[in-house]
Amino acid sequence: MKGFLRAFFRNRGALAGLVILALAFLLALSAPLLFPFSPWDMQGAPFMSPGEMGFLLGSDSLGRDVAAGIAYGAPVSLIIGAVSTAVALVIGVSLGAFAGYAGGAVDDAMMRFTEFFQTIPSFVLAIVLVAIFKPSLASIVIAIAVVSWPPVARVARAEFLSLRNREFVQAAEVLGRSRLVIIFREILPNALSPIIVLASLMVASAILLESALSFLGLGDPNRMSWGFMIGAGRSVIRMAWWMSVFPGLAIFLTVLALNLVGEGLNDALNPRIAHRRAAT
C-alpha cells in the first residue's frame, strides 16, 4: 500500500489531476456560498463580457451569471459521472466475473450479449433512452450506465478467466475452499487493479457523455449543467463567446484531471510499465 502511494504521488500529472479534482469538488460544495442565488435567475444585463458589471465570466443571453452556472453545474457533472460509473461497475463486474469464472456455455452466452451491446452505437442509444423516458437525473444516470457497462464486463471477464487458472486459485480449490471464498478472497482482490484504472477513465467518459446529452437538450431541465450552457451559447457564439468557452473549459479540465489520475493509478499499479516509460 505504501509502495503504491509513493509511486502514485511521484507522478506529477496524477498529482495535478488530483488537485484539479479537489478544486472541482470544493467548487461543487461551495456553490451556494459563492453564489447565493439560483443560477437560473437573471442577475443583470445580458451579454456582458467577462469582467463587466461584476460578472466574473460574463453573462448569458438572459442575463444569467456564467460563473454561477459553472459552479452549480459542477455537482451535477460530478454526481452523474460518479453514480453512473458506480452502477455500470456493479453491472459490468458482476456479469463479467460470473462469465469469466463459470466459463463454457455461460461464458459464451454472456459474451454474445456483451458483443451485441457493443454493436449498438452507445451515444445514439443513450439519446434514445433519455428521450423516451424523459430527461431527469435518474434517466440520465441509467442511460449512461446502460451504455457504459460492456467494457467493464470485458475487462472483468478477462481478469477472471485468466485468474481462474492461476495456480494459487487452483491451490485454493485443492484445499477445498468454497466457490464463494475463492471468488471473493482469492480472485477478486487480484482482479481489481485494471478495474480501478478503468473506473476513473469511465467517470471521465460519463461526464463527456452527460455534457453531450445536455448540449442536445436532454439534460435534467431543473438543473444547470455545463453541456446545457454550451448548447445555449451555440447560436450566439459570434456575440458572446464566453458562454460557450468557459463551461467547455470546465468540462475539459475535469475530464483531463480524471484521465491523469487514471494514468497515475495505472502506472502505480503496474510498476514495470512505468519504468519503461521513464527509460529511453
Binding site: P121, G217, R238, S244, G248, L256, N259
Partner: protein, 327 residues
C-alpha cells in the same frame, strides 16, 4: 483461406447481422411501449398537436388494442418492408428521409475516419520512435488534450477561430445555398464546408489512435522477434516498418472496428454544431419535436451501419493476421 470457407464465413456473419437487426427492432418496439404514455402518442410525437384522428389511424395500423406479441409481429412486418413509420413533423416516411440524408453523414464520418486513422497512426508511430524526446512529449500531450475535450466544444472553438475570427471557412451547411452546381463544381463547393466538421470529428479519434499506436508500438518493440531481426543485422528503419509496425497495428484495427459506433454517434453532435444535413441533424430535429419514430429509425440505421463496418473490419483482420482462422 479457401473461397468456400470465406463464403461460408460471410454468409454466417450476414445471418448474424440480420438476427441482431431483429433484436434491435424488438428493442425499439419495447421502448415505444415502455415509454410513459400511450404508445400511439409516442409514435405520433407529442409536439402538442395530438391529432386524435391520426392517432386512431395509428392504433388501427399497428393494432395497438391487440395483444403484445401480435403487435410485435405487425411492427416487424412493417420494418421488413422498410416501412419505419412516418415523421409526423415532416409528414414524410422515415425511411425516405434517412436514405436522403445518409450520404452526407457517410461523407462526413468517412472523411473524419480516414483523417483520424492516417494522422493518428503516423503521429503515434513517430512518438514511439522518438520516445522520451520533446517530440514524443508534444504528441502525447496534444493527444491527451484532444482526448479530453468534448466534441461539440471543439467544434464551436474551431468555428470561433476559423469562421468568426479569421473568416477563412464557412461555419455551417454543406454547400453554397442556392447555387445549383453539378459534377466537379459541386464536389469542390462542398470541400470548404467539410473541413471544420471533419476536423472536429477527427481530432478526438486521432488522439485515441495516436495513443494506442504509440503504446502498442512500444510494447511490440520489446518483443523477441525484434531482437531476432537485430541479430540478423537489419537496420532500424526496416525493423520499424516490416516488423514492429505491422504487428503494432493489429490492435489498432480492432479498436477502429469497435470505435465505429462511437464515431457515428459523435457525428450527431458535430452535425448539430455545423448544421451539416446528415442523419445526425435529422435525429436532433427529431429530439426537439419529440418525433420518436424518426429517432428510432435513426437508431436502427446507425446500428446497421456499425454492424456492416464491423464485418469489414473482421475481414480486414483476416487478411492481415495469418493466425486468425476461419472457424
Amino acid at each position: 483461406m479457401s473461397g468456400v470457407r470465406l463464403l461460408r464465413f460471410l454468409a454466417q456473419r450476414l445471418a448474424k447481422i440480420v438476427v441482431l437487426m431483429v433484436a434491435i427492432v424488438i428493442i425499439n418496439f419495447l421502448l415505444i411501449h415502455a415509454a410513459p404514455g400511450d404508445p400511439a402518442s409516442v409514435m405520433a410525437g407529442q409536439s402538442g398537436t395530438a391529432d386524435e384522428r391520426y392517432m386512431q389511424q395509428l392504433r388501427q395500423q399497428f393494432g395497438l388494442d391487440k395483444p403484445l406479441p401480435t403487435q410485435l409481429w405487425i411492427y416487424l412486418k412493417h420494418v421488413a418492408v422498410l416501412d419505419l413509420g412516418k415523421s409526423h413533423r415532416l409528414q414524410r416516411p422515415v425511411a425516405d428521409l434517412i436514405l436522403e440524408r445518409l450520404p452526407a453523414t457517410l461523407l462526413l464520418t468517412g472523411t473524419a475516419f480516414v483523417l483520424a486513422i492516417a494522422t493518428g497512426i503516423a503521429s503515434g508511430a513517430m512518438a514511439a520512435r522518438r520516445v522520451g524526446t520533446a517530440a514524443d512529449s508534444l504528441i502525447t500531450t496534444l493527444s491527451l488534450v484532444f482526448y479530453c475535450t468534448p466534441l461539440f466544444w471543439v467544434g464551436l472553438l474551431l468555428v470561433l477561430l476559423f469562421s468568426v475570427t479569421l473568416n477563412w471557412l464557412p461555419s455551417f451547411g454543406m454547400g453554397t445555398v442556392g447555387a445549383n452546381l453539378s459534377g466537379m463544381a459541386a464536389v469542390l463547393d462542398v470541400v470548404p464546408y467539410l473541413v471544420l466538421p471533419a476536423l472536429t470529428l477527427g481530432l478526438f479519434y486521432m488522439a485515441i489512435y495516436a495513443r494506442l499506436t504509440r503504446s502498442s508500438t512500444l510494447e511490440v518493440a520489446d518483443l523477441d522477434f525484434v531482437k531476432t531481426a537485430r541479430a540478423k543485422g537489419v537496420d532500424e528503419g526496416r525493423i520499424m516498418r516490416r516488423h514492429i509496425l505491422r504487428n503494432a497495428l493489429l490492435p489498432v484495427i480492432t479498436l477502429a472496428g469497435i470505435q465505429v459506433g462511437h464515431l457515428i454517434g459523435g457525428s450527431i453532435l458535430v452535425e448539430t454544431v455545423f448544421a451539416w444535413p446528415g442523419i445526425g441533424t435529422l435525429a436532433f430535429e427529431a429530439l426537439l419535436s419529440r418525433d420518436y419514430e424518426m429517432l428510432l429509425g435513426v437508431f436502427l440505421c446507425t446500428s446497421v451501419l456499425v454492424m456492416l463496418f464491423n464485418l469489414i473490419t473482421d475481414l480486414l483482420y483476416l487478411v492481415v493476421d495469418p493466425r486468425v482462422e476461419l472457424a
